[in-house]
Symmetry: C2
Subunit: 518 residues, 2 copies
């Protein structure tokens, strides 16, 4: 797309129409500066069908902050909004409201509390809490959701794939199958969640990682079409990239042609003092072919070169490849553990689109409004009891048990002293009969989860580097129970309410029903 | 994100690293100006699990063309590439190649033939054919795939949802769940494929449609939190938007509270001379609640206002809603056909992410290279026979039978006269035993499908408006057999090879195997 079109669609107008019509309504009612609190959270971990996630990895905060700087109603935006019509042809947005948008609107005139990127997060626990003027809170909703929901989804998928790959190098290859420019933040999220590198040159550039890649089948085809063959193609590649020689060996026949030709080229390289990097397998039975390839490479004296696998990989396929290698490798005289440790994975489609569950069900809900300097909790009662909001101005904590493992996330009201409580009561969010009680000696420590990011319009938070986010991620994953971590049928991590929040929620539900049914 | 970051990642660097390393290899070998032909096609229609597509809707060409204008290696790009290192710390891209990129590279120095947007398309039939210098053809591959694959996927999903909704108004609501900035071209593709409008303000702006929306639960919650109730919220909305009053009725209880309150407000509006627009249902049993709501609205004298449905809709859910209305409505004294004709659908997540199959398997493959002014077909033999390319410089046709229905797409070699052939032989792409023979009296006409878009570096094609693409779409869908159109278990549309192309493919497969196994 043209850069100016992208710009028009990715700043203040990156919102849903109803945010603007609601903002004008608040403006007309004199309520646009009334302060509200909005919680961003997701309702359930990604469910990919036959497998599902036991946790998510947070991502998106830094791009949300960058986007907030772009949420400015300049001449272009105001002119466009002024041109919108009602169904009877009148001006939809009044000049009074447009004047306010242009002059007085400030997307950062909020307090923002957030989970840092890279942290393990769980359903129904607020990730971003926005507290600010109703009109601002509404207008920034959609863009915040857009940035955060997708990046959490992809960081989570990347973490799962990395886990399934037993920590081996993971490369993000998805640009060609991504949702347009979504590929950019998709690559970012993958790098936060589990990918080591990306093939996406532009995304690698702006996020500060070297882009990675090998070559395509087309290069071999070119040489074949010109009357030369695969070997000539490999030789040319080795001549140009003697220290980065990674050869795709499945254009014709992996075992009969590709690997033998690669070995000949590797031998030449070694004679010239270069270290060959590896081969890539992109079709067929990757487990079986990687064993046969490893055997041939080992026999030829190249036990150290990488074997890169690609072609519709995801966490289950990788798990199956590793399992098959463990069962099959020794029969061919290949050490399965050594083979597994030389594998590198290139994952495209299934990572960048989170195949199986292509969207995180993240929502952004009004939970309180401020009247006469007091926060009044608000509620939406849904047809589905699980979707009824946790109301009010809240705090979020992680409870570590005596083993040092995270045992629950706890949502409380503002002002509750959970770090001293004994016993600590953890209530199920919706089922009255389910609760736990933890004595102090069962608790290692209780950690506050949300950090201040914007206070009174000032950014007070330094976004860490992606490398630092990865440290946080690894530490948090390590604190999970192995049952919560497993990629299939994970144990359900407890997300609990304090007794006070539970009581407030129940009384509000009753009050709303009474008021409105009367 | 910051606009300058988006710009860096969405121009010439919106490519995979290996495209650049291959381009440098061609440059070093003196082959970068050698002309190649690359076909973009997809391998299989989207398969959503229990349902799948029988065809796709083409989209993406205009944004591909706009992107090609941005594929320029300026100072920023060259400086970044110059900074890339080999594994031994040397400069990866040489100054000679970088000089060529900066001075001589022209992304439009190609011939481009393409399917127009809005057309029905089928697996394995070229959608975009790029013929140009090898280095250019490689560097533009990834961005072309990124733009076209995703937009085809979403246009197709939108067409299915529109079909399931029996042509009723469809609104795209997906910005908050989309893949970041992918939401922009996602909205565009939805508008081409089946959506009438989008809630995405920025995308609506740049594509020239009025954005649509209602209001959120939060607006009702605000009024409740301030001690007023749902009715006061509705009244405020009607005061501000008297001619566009569409009320979300499920914040508390749809039937006990929401619809009765909406009716009171509608009565006020009517007294003041305004026509209320409708209600929106966003939770619960949408079929049942729409019947009850319709009954109440009818009884109150509002049989014409719309009932907007939203909440995790897709083509199957809509199909089920309509089926249930047909079975259940009369019991409540509601005419099912009239109810179905007043429904409007707001579809978010499942449209913008194509839930169930979140990526189109579109590929871009070298099929021929030009040597001494002659096109030499190239081939990649895959482990999977279905994935073996159709080689050579080809043409694509649609064959309409005597009923005027499209009966097959036919891929031929350049120069074949299929419009006069009698009989016309249609060969299965991979199975030798499967072929059809059509006599002239069985054929209404044979249509050429690809149009010239860029010739010798000049754009020779005027992109039509989205409205005009919709006309093409409706005409093409109408020409499909109903069995191909159905949303579950569709009949397989024939994509065939001419006898000459079949013979070429078989001889090439044999030649490649013989050469490389020798």
């Amino acid at each position: 797309m043209k850069p100016e079109l992208i710009k028009h669609a990715s700043g203040a107008l990156m919102t849903d129409q109803y945010q603007l019509t609601m903002a004008q309504l608040y403006f007309r009612m004199g309520m646009h500066e009334t302060r509200g609190q909005f919680d961003h959270f997701y309702r359930s971990n990604p469910d990919y069908g036959i497998h599902k996630a036991g946790y998510c990895i947070n991502a998106g905060l830094e791009t949300v902050l960058q986007w907030l700087d772009q949420v400015v109603f300049g001449d272009e935006e105001i002119q466009y909004l002024r041109g919108q019509k009602t169904s009877t042809g009148r001006q939809l947005f009044g000049d009074d409201f447009l004047g306010w948008l242009k002059t007085d609107f400030n997307a950062k005139a909020i307090n923002l509390f957030a989970m840092p990127e890279g942290r393990v997060i769980h359903p129904n626990v607020p990730i971003h809490v926005v507290e600010g003027p109703l009109a601002v809170g509404q207008i920034i909703e959609t863009g915040l959701l857009n940035n955060a929901n997708y990046q959490i989804l992809i960081a989570t998928k990347a973490a799962r794939i990395k886990q399934s790959a037993r920590g081996q190098q993971l490369m993000e290859f998805g640009l060609r199958r991504a949702q347009g420019l979504g590929a950019i933040t998709g690559a970012r999220a993958a790098l936060i969640g589990g990918a080591d590198f990306s093939s996406n040159v532009g995304a690698s550039h702006i996020f500060g990682f070297p882009p990675k890649g090998t070559h395509a089948h087309s290069m071999v085809q070119v040489f074949m079409g010109m009357g030369a063959g695969e070997l000539a193609a490999f030789q040319a590649y080795a001549d140009v990239y003697p220290d980065d020689c990674l050869l795709l060996v499945d254009t014709i026949d992996t075992i009969e042609s590709g690997v033998p030709n690669a070995i000949r080229v590797f031998e030449d390289l070694r004679r010239k003092g270069h270290q060959p990097v590896g081969i890539r397998l992109d079709s067929g039975d990757l487990a079986h072919l990687s064993i046969l390839s490893a055997k041939m490479l080992n026999d030829a004296g190249f036990p150290e070169v990488s074997i890169v696998l690609s072609n519709d990989l995801d966490e289950l396929v990788i798990w199956q490849i590793i399992t098959q290698i463990q069962e099959e490798a020794e029969r061919y005289g290949v050490d399965p553990d050594k083979l597994i440790k030389r594998l590198v994975y290139g994952v495209g489609t299934h990572l960048i689109t989170s195949t199986g569950d292509s969207a995180l069900d993240g929502v952004y809900k009004l939970v309180a409004i401020c009247q006469d300097d007091e926060w009044v909790p608000t509620l939406k009662i849904s047809e589905n009891v699980d979707k009824t909001l946790n109301p009010g101005n809240k705090r979020v904590w992680r409870v570590y048990d005596s083993r040092g493992k995270a045992t629950a996330d706890l949502i409380t009201l503002h002002g509750e002293d959970v770090q001293q409580a004994s016993p600590l009561i953890l209530r199920h969010p919706t089922m009255a009969s389910k609760h736990r009680s933890l004595e102090q000696d069962e608790i290692d420590h209780v950690e506050k989860l949300l950090v201040p990011v914007i206070l009174d319009g000032e950014v007070v938070y330094d976004c860490p580097s992606i490398e630092d986010m990865r440290v946080v991620r690894d530490r948090d994953i390590d604190h999970l129970d192995p049952g919560v971590r497993r990629i299939m049928n994970p144990h359900i991590y407890h997300v609990s309410l304090s007794q006070k929040l539970w009581d407030l929620k129940q009384s509000l539900i009753k009050k709303v029903r009474d008021q409105n049914m009367a």
